[in-house]
């Protein structure tokens, strides 16, 4: 491969000698997500640097040396054709840094939403695993990341905003891209979901259900006022409710069945904090199936 000119970069490649590849072909092809280059033992022949520079980013080398397997990864190997001090001035460094920064940001603009969602979901999962997890922690997190509740949201009003519009003070009101409104009520992750003996809804779940029912009926009863004072797109048909409460991971199979059966009878949605995680994970998995896997850096 002959390299000439500035700002060439080769990303995510495994350079593997023929003997190493032949020995571990099954493992390499099954596990590797990078491009595999099988080559003769002299790696320096692969890159014939004649001018300019080349960056090898996230590259791995695998070969057999003195009968021993050698495998290592280099985060970045930046090769220059020149050794002149004139090529390594501060001005040149600044210019190259600006050029590389712009290229990273342009690339990030294309991949950031998915990578960020993936990162957000990881952070949410960690939060769920935290000891002494409180409603307030989840409320703050979901306030910052309403995309987890409603991926197509385009507007969010918090309790304080709703008070100013004299709307029922739910935790959030989300407006979606297709002009639906979702009233969101967050309850405590430690709330019991079911009554242990009857497997009917617990007192805490009943209370949350009463609360969301009241919010929805208040909005529907005052719809003409709210259309004028809050948003012209609001209508009786396009307002729905979402309660997030408790942890389904703590339910037995029978309890989960009873919970699912109960919530299926309601005319608003009730999900647990674990189900919120699963729903978003499935969404990311579906994107991964359609558009390729996502790699955490």
């Amino acid at each position: 491969m002959q390299v000439q000119g500035a700002d060439t970069h080769i990303v995510n490649i495994n350079f593997i000698t023929r003997d190493f590849y032949d020995r571990y072909e099954k493992i390499i092809t099954a596990l590797s997500r990078a491009t595999n280059f099988r080559l003769d033992a002299d790696f320096s022949r692969f890159i014939d640097l004649t001018a300019g520079d080349v960056r090898l980013v996230d590259v791995s080398f695998a070969y057999i040396s003195e009968g021993k397997d050698t495998v290592y990864r280099i985060p970045c190997l930046w090769l220059f054709a020149s050794n002149s001090s004139l090529e390594f001035t501060r001005e040149k460094a600044r210019a190259l840094a600006l050029q590389h920064y712009r290229s990273i940001m342009e690339n990030a603009v294309q991949t950031a939403p998915i990578q960020m969602l993936s990162g957000t979901l990881e952070a949410y999962e960690k939060l769920l695993e935290a000891a002494n997890l409180a409603e307030q922690h989840l409320q703050t997190f979901l306030d910052n990341n309403p995309i987890l509740i409603e991926p197509s949201f385009k507007g969010k009003w918090t309790k304080g905003d709703l008070r100013r519009f004299r709307l029922p003070e739910a935790d959030f009101l989300l407006k979606t891209s297709d002009n639906r409104f979702v009233v969101v009520e967050l309850e405590n992750p430690t709330d019991r979901l079911l009554n242990a003996s009857t497997l009917g809804p617990s007192a805490e779940l009943r209370m949350a259900e009463t609360q969301i029912t009241n919010y929805l009926s208040d909005i529907q009863n005052g719809i003409l006022t709210y259309r004028n004072s809050f948003d012209r797109d609001l209508s009786v048909e396009n307002v729905s409710g979402q309660v997030i409460i408790g942890r389904s991971s703590r339910l037995s199979a029978d309890q989960k069945k009873a919970f699912d059966k109960h919530v299926s009878t309601l005319n608003y949605s009730v999900i647990t904090y674990d189900e919120l995680l699963q729903r978003n994970r499935a969404f990311l998995d579906n994107l991964g199936i359609r558009y390729g896997g996502f790699r955490a850096k």
């Binding site: 890159i47 040396s65 050794n83 001035t89 501060r90 460094a93 600006l98 960020m116």
Partner: protein, 84 residues
């Protein structure tokens, strides 16, 4: 060479001050988002190289010289049978 690398890294840092650290780790390649050990090699016959190596508590730059051609110096070189 050390000044060149320092200037490169500090320019990237200055440009990305508005990017929160948690997003920087996601968006930037690892060698620019976290301090690494950096080995610079200058060849007296042909070329130079900057290798971002393992993670380090802070940026740690080391410069060395060689008379070999740079690609031969910094890339593994074995015989065709895989033996040095």
């Amino acid at each position: 060479m050390e000044k060149f690398v320092n200037e490169y890294l500090s320019t990237i840092d200055r440009q990305s001050t508005a990017v929160p650290r948690s997003y920087k780790i996601l968006l930037f390649p690892s060698y620019l988002s976290t301090p690494h050990k950096i080995r610079c090699t200058i060849s007296s016959s042909f070329g130079a190289a900057i290798r971002f190596d393992e993670f380090s508590a802070k940026w740690d730059i080391e410069v060395s010289f060689t008379s070999n051609k740079i690609t031969e110096e910094v890339l593994p070189r074995l015989s065709n049978t895989g033996v040095p």
